[in-house]
């Protein structure tokens, strides 16, 4: 297939994704715009006297594309307001369902409105999905942090645990989950966890960077033990894919990382 044929194929494929359904005097247009949770966006076109209305038909907030409870949460409103203003949309409440719409008296501007509503719906759903993803990640890391903090406190007691999470103000950007003080020496602990492989890998590579920096700092000589605790029951944990990164981390730790399922090893290290 030559370049022009290839382009023709791509264009034809995308064009074939435009479909319609008639619902009385309203036409549902199924668009090629999609949501992260595998739905194609629909917009509805109807007439009011001389105006053409293009609307989401209330499907966004009714939960047709995404869980209704999530999309109606109050704290998601700023995002919705942003997109609403971006596309200059209006809203109308119809028996408790809020619909977003745009209107025009010019037929040639209808495709513009279809584009704007479709983008709006797709982007709004994407922002919900992202927010829920972030919330899950926060919940997961907070939960593991609580369990690990409690376990470490049980071994060393609260007095030896430093209140700060960095070694000095100069190195304030390099954060550790726990710093344990042993007189003139310290031990540094980092937790590795993640609700998805992406977040897990981020946690791992952040730990690598932090231990690498601290090893090259003047504080290197006063570090008793460098400890990484890997949450191997985290949803994002992947021992196979993570092993290359774990290997590098362990070079900086100068010892193997500790798996959460083998946390009794911490009794020797702390």
């Amino acid at each position: 297939m030559n370049t022009l044929e290839l382009f023709g194929d791509i264009k034809e494929t995308f064009c074939s994704l435009w479909k319609y359904k008639l619902r009385g005097e309203t036409m549902e247009v199924i668009t090629p715009f999609t949501t992260p949770n595998s739905k194609f966006v629909s917009v509805f076109i109807t007439r009011r006297n001389d105006s053409y209305i293009v609307t989401d038909g209330g499907w966004l907030l009714a939960g047709e594309y995404y869980n209704a409870e999530s999309v109606n949460q109050k704290d998601i409103n700023p995002l919705l307001k942003y997109f609403e203003a971006l596309y200059e949309l209006k809203t109308i409440d119809h028996y408790g369902t809020k619909m977003f719409f745009s209107s025009t008296e010019e037929v040639k501007m209808i495709p513009n409105k279809v584009h704007d509503l479709s983008q709006f719906i797709s982007q709004a759903v994407s922002s919900y999905a992202l927010k829920i993803n972030d919330e899950r990640e926060l919940k997961e890391s907070e939960s593991f942090k609580f369990d690990a903090d409690q376990f470490i406190r049980g071994i060393v007691g609260t007095e030896k645990i430093a209140k700060r999470h960095s070694v000095s103000t100069e190195y304030d950007a390099v954060r550790f989950n726990v710093i344990i003080e042993y007189g003139s020496e310290i031990s540094l602990v980092k937790y590795i966890t993640g609700s998805t492989p992406h977040y897990y890998k981020t946690s791992l590579t952040n730990a690598q960077a932090d231990f690498n920096i601290i090893n090259k700092s003047p504080f290197n000589t006063v570090i008793k033990n460098r400890i990484a605790i890997i949450n191997d029951s985290a949803p994002g944990y992947d021992s196979k894919k993570g092993s290359l990164y774990t290997g590098l981390l362990e070079e900086y730790l100068k010892r193997p990382a500790v798996l959460w399922s083998q946390r009794e090893k911490l009794y020797e290290l702390l």
Partner: protein, 136 residues
Amino acid sequence: MIDQVQLIAEQRKFNNCSYKFQIRCSDFCVEPLFRFDSDGSTHQNKSDPLAVQQVPTPHFNCFNPEGFNHAYQTDEMKDVEYSELQDMQRFFAIFCEECYIVFGDDEPLEILKGDQRELDLNLHNEDFLADVNFEI
């Protein structure tokens, strides 16, 4: 041990063209195992070539061997006029046939809907935007 498998039918109030039939087993899976949607958003079968990814309603939803949600239409469901969806019994029969649900001696299951104390008046307008007062 797996407990109960449930057959659930839901219809939107004031719209007798919008309904779902689901097979659920919450001990096994949070999501419905198999589903029929008469109306609603078009599904994207992500693992298919783009040209054939779109599956509008009415459609079935199931999980493919890779564990992804997959939608499809049988021939009887393609090119259905919206008003034909009012015949819920017809689509319920298609659903039962697709997931091998029978009653007694291969008799078709009959679906009764609504509150029997109320009159079954068709309040639905095919054009759901007909009475929306868009302030332009």
